[in-house]
Every structure is written in structure tokens, then in C-alpha cells.
């Protein structure tokens, strides 16, 4: 089988064009923060960000850097650190188009893309303002039962899925453990970019224990090694959230200058010091 070549973070994110429909996972499923920083550094613009199904620091930073035109999400929050400052500011000054969703609708729309079906029905949502504001969603009658209205969602097929994982092998197989949503993202997306903590020897698929919890190489376009690649977010059992760094972000993100300074500090090695 053809081995996948490892790239640098810069080359990895170079394949995310301006205007891409970019899918990113929720905070606990492996957020590629190092790659996000590289993406900001290259000055990406007009992203249509799909949060699977929510986001936090990553979405807020991309919005603060002026990289996002549209965000589809079920929530954006920095949890106990507070509401997302750049997200909220962008909504206030109307520089961001928000597509409010609900978690299972984002999953279902990705599952539709995974199955190559143009739409998928889903229960719930009828009578909500979430549905009322989604011109791209419809209510139809269940074709099998008269008088049973149900929402249908068009498939979400991301141009790019981007996430961080524990390890990959040299064939390009990525170990995902229980984080099946990154598998769903990769199945649904045209292109999948992965950062990993490390490369392991041997073939992950051949390991009877871990083999079932692998994203196979066929879905993976490129891999870059990023040690502590989810920092300052937590990553699995590898490292905890860097509370100090996020508190500092919350303070600085109140202004464009602060965001720029935060990014500059990051380039300057804040991570190394963490």
C-alpha cells in the first residue's frame, strides 16, 4: 500500500483554500490548534466553518483573526472561561454570518455526506426558531405515514476536515480511539488533514486491539506531526487544558490588537514555555 508522506504544518494548511468549507471537531475530540495557528499565519480568508457540533477557542481565534465569513455551529463557548469574545464581537458588528444549528443536525448532515445521500430526515426541531431561521432546511411529510411532518437536512460535505490525533502509522492510518466523530468528519469530507502527536511503527490496522479504532489512510490527504498540537486545549489523556494561556486569551481577545499580540506571542514561543 502506498505510504502517505508527512508534511510540515505550513504545507498541510496550504491545502485549505480561502472560502473552504472547513469542518472542525468539538474541544474534547482533538482540536488541531497548532495547524489553526499556521492557518491564521498564512492569512486564510472567508472560511465557512462547520463546528462538529460545537467549538470554542479554535473558532473564536479564527473569527478574531478575520478568517471566517460563515460559521455553522450548535454552540461556541469557552466553557467556564466565559462567552467567546471574538465570536460575540463579530456578531455585534455583523461581520459574521451565523447558521445556528443543533448538535444532532450537524452530525446527521455529515452522516448524509458519508452515505452519499443528498439529504437525511431527523426528528425534533419543528417549532423551534433554530429551524425557522434555516432557509436551507425543510419540513416534509413522512412518505410512509400521512400527517407526520419531519425535518430534512441537506448533506454537509466539507471541503476539508481538520483535526488532531494521538498517532498515525507510516501508511497514513490514524488512531482515533473512541473519537468516532473525527471518523465521521473524514468520511464526509473531500479532504482530510490530520496533525498527530507522533508516528508509530507498524500498521495500526493490523493491531487486533486498536484496529477497530482507526481512520484508514484512504480518507487521509496529509499528516503533519505537531507535538502538543492541541495546546492550549486539553488532549485526551495526553495533556490538560492550559488554564493560564486561555485566561490570558480571554483578556487579550477584547481587542484586535490584543488578538494580534496573542498570536505574535504564540509564534514567539509561548507554547514552548507552557
Amino acid at each position: 500500500m502506498s505510504a502517505i508522506s508527512l508534511t510540515s504544518l505550513e504545507t498541510l494548511v496550504a491545502s485549505i483554500p480561502d472560502g473552504a468549507l472547513l469542518a472542525v471537531p468539538k474541544d474534547t475530540s482533538g482540536v488541531a490548534m497548532a495547524a489553526t495557528r499556521a492557518l491564521v499565519r498564512r492569512g486564510v480568508r472567508n472560511l465557512h466553518l462547520v463546528c462538529v457540533p460545537t467549538s470554542g477557542l479554535q473558532a473564536d481565534l479564527l473569527i478574531g483573526a478575520g478568517a471566517v465569513a460563515v460559521v455553522e455551529t450548535s454552540a461556541i463557548t469557552l466553557g467556564e472561561f466565559g462567552t467567546a469574545p471574538c465570536f460575540n464581537a463579530a456578531l455585534r458588528n455583523r461581520s459574521l454570518h451565523i447558521l445556528d444549528a443543533t448538535c444532532p443536525a450537524i452530525y446527521a448532515a455529515l452522516q448524509a455526506a458519508e452515505k452519499g445521500i443528498p439529504f437525511i430526515p431527523l426528528r425534533g426541531m419543528i417549532g423551534t426558531d433554530v429551524l425557522r431561521h434555516r432557509a436551507d432546511w425543510k419540513v416534509i411529510d413522512n412518505p410512509f405515514v400521512a400527517g407526520d411532518p419531519i425535518v430534512v437536512l441537506p448533506a454537509i460535505r466539507p471541503d476539508v476536515a481538520l483535526f488532531h490525533a494521538r498517532c498515525a502509522d507510516r501508511e497514513g492510518n490514524v488512531f482515533i480511539g473512541k473519537e468516532r466523530e473525527v471518523l465521521l468528519m473524514a468520511h464526509a469530507a473531500k479532504t482530510t488533514l490530520v496533525t498527530v502527536e507522533e508516528i508509530v511503527e507498524g500498521n495500526l490496522l493490523a493491531d487486533p486491539a486498536r484496529g477497530g479504532a482507526v481512520l484508514p489512510a484512504i480518507y487521509v490527504s496529509a499528516i503533519a506531526i505537531a507535538k502538543r498540537g492541541a495546546w492550549p486545549l486539553a488532549f485526551a489523556d495526553q495533556y490538560p487544558m492550559d488554564d493560564a494561556a486561555i485566561t490570558r486569551y480571554m483578556t487579550m481577545a477584547r481587542s484586535a490588537e490584543g488578538i494580534a499580540q496573542f498570536l505574535a506571542e504564540w509564534d514567539g514561543g509561548v507554547q514552548a514555555a507552557a
Binding site: S29, T102, A105, T128, V130, R180, E181
Partner: protein
């Protein structure tokens, strides 16, 4: 043993509201519902299953984040908790923001799974400690999830109770109205009226929310505090200090 703190009272009330459930799920950032569910499990002698999102130990999911929602649709979750930046008298909840969407002077994180789970889980408990007219409004500005649905809409689930820092309400789905069931010790019906922006049913005599008995209180302070610390260490520490 000292008297139950406000938090301990809420934990005990939640455990009571969950009695008889086979499987209770608790969303992220929900320490008090999480502690209440773990207490209910303890009281059930282990018959109840509890899933705490964000926990390693109390979360069995192996199919990604979608599993919670699929479980709900399969009818395998009996109870869940929702909150809201605004809650109104029809049990509509708003997790998005105030004002004329999308121009929201105050924006909250978003609807999460509420627009779905509220429809499918039989016993949804609305939990919000803050009980003010800012939260308990006549009509929510944005319906993340409605309290009731038109006939014909598939809706096995919905609101069961509203628990706040002041009292406990039950919800009558047929009449689409809350009823004040009890007032927490140290508070009054008048205080609840003053701080509630919507109409609700109120019997002539509203009992006081019963405080947890000694063994329940001991369980909260020992077993439950330890159990919840895995997911919410800071909350567990506060629980100890209380």
C-alpha cells in the same frame, strides 16, 4: 452534621426527580445535575445507569458524539437536563440570545442539542439556579426548544419539572403551564412571584422543599463528592467547603 446547603438541597431534589429512571444522561458543564444523577444511582442500588458527558468513567459511548442523540431517539434515555438564558411559562427555552435574532444584544453559546433532545427524552428537567425576571420571562426571545408541540408532531419527550434556586415547579403538558410544587427553605411564594416573569399555578398552600435526610446528606458529602470530582473537581471542592 451541619444542615444541607442550597447546593446539597438541589442535588437531593434532582435525585428524587429521577426516581424510577433506567438511564439518566447529564450534559457537559452540569455539576449539580451530575451530582444529583449520581446520587439517584446510589439510591437505586446500582439499578440506574448514569451517563455524564465529559466523564471518562461514567460515559460508555463508542460511536462518537452522535451516540447521545441516537440513544435518545431509540428511547434509551429516560431523563436529561436542560437550562436556558431565558425560560418562559410555556416551558420554551432560549439558549441563543436576547433581542431580535440574529441581532442579539446578549448572545449565549447556542442551542446545543436542546432543539432535539427536548422532543425525545420523556423526563426533561429544566434546571437553572438563577431565578430572576431576567431568566424567567413572559416569552423567550428565541425558541431554542419549545415546551409543547402541535398535535401530529412526533414528540415522546418534553418538560417534566423546573428546578431553580428558589423552588420546584412541575409542568402540565396538556395545560401548558407550570405549577409551583415547593419552595426551598429560606424562600417564600412571594419571593418566587416577584422574581418570575410568567404566570404559573400556585396552590393555596405550597409546601417547603424537604431537606435531605441525614443519610442522604452523608451520601452527598462522601460518596457523591468523590464520584463527581472526576468530572468536576472544582465543584467537588466547593461542595466540600459548603
Amino acid at each position: 452534621m451541619s444542615e444541607a446547603s442550597g447546593t446539597e438541597l438541589l442535588v437531593a431534589v434532582i435525585a428524587r426527580l429521577l426516581q424510577g429512571c433506567a438511564h439518566v444522561a447529564v450534559g457537559a458543564s452540569s455539576p449539580i445535575p451530575g451530582a444529583g444523577a449520581l446520587l439517584a444511582r446510589l439510591q437505586s442500588g446500582g439499578a440506574m445507569r448514569v451517563t455524564v458527558l465529559g466523564s471518562q468513567k461514567n460515559n460508555f459511548f463508542t460511536s462518537g458524539g452522535v451516540e447521545l442523540f441516537d440513544l435518545a431517539a431509540q428511547g434509551r434515555i429516560d431523563a436529561f437536563f436542560l437550562g436556558g438564558g431565558q425560560i418562559d411559562g410555556q416551558a420554551n427555552i432560549n439558549l441563543v440570545g436576547t433581542g431580535d435574532y440574529p441581532d442579539t444584544p446578549v448572545r449565549w453559546p447556542g442551542s446545543f442539542g436542546s432543539a432535539y433532545l427536548y422532543f425525545l427524552i420523556p423526563r426533561v428537567i429544566l434546571f437553572r439556579e438563577e431565578h430572576t425576571r431576567r431568566v424567567m420571562v413572559p416569552k423567550v426571545d428565541f425558541i431554542s426548544a419549545p415546551g409543547v408541540s402541535d398535535a401530529g408532531v412526533h414528540r415522546p419527550g418534553g418538560p417534566h419539572a423546573l428546578l431553580t434556586g428558589l423552588g420546584l415547579f412541575s409542568f402540565d403538558r396538556a395545560r401548558c403551564r407550570f405549577r409551583l410544587d415547593s419552595v426551598h427553605p429560606g424562600h417564600s411564594v412571594e419571593e418566587i412571584r416577584d422574581n418570575t416573569g410568567f404566570e404559573f399555578d400556585c396552590p393555596a398552600h405550597v409546601p417547603s422543599t424537604p431537606a435531605p435526610d441525614a443519610s442522604t446528606l452523608a451520601a452527598i458529602r462522601n460518596r457523591i463528592r468523590g464520584d463527581i470530582a472526576e468530572t468536576y473537581p472544582q465543584f467537588a471542592a466547593r461542595l466540600a467547603a459548603a
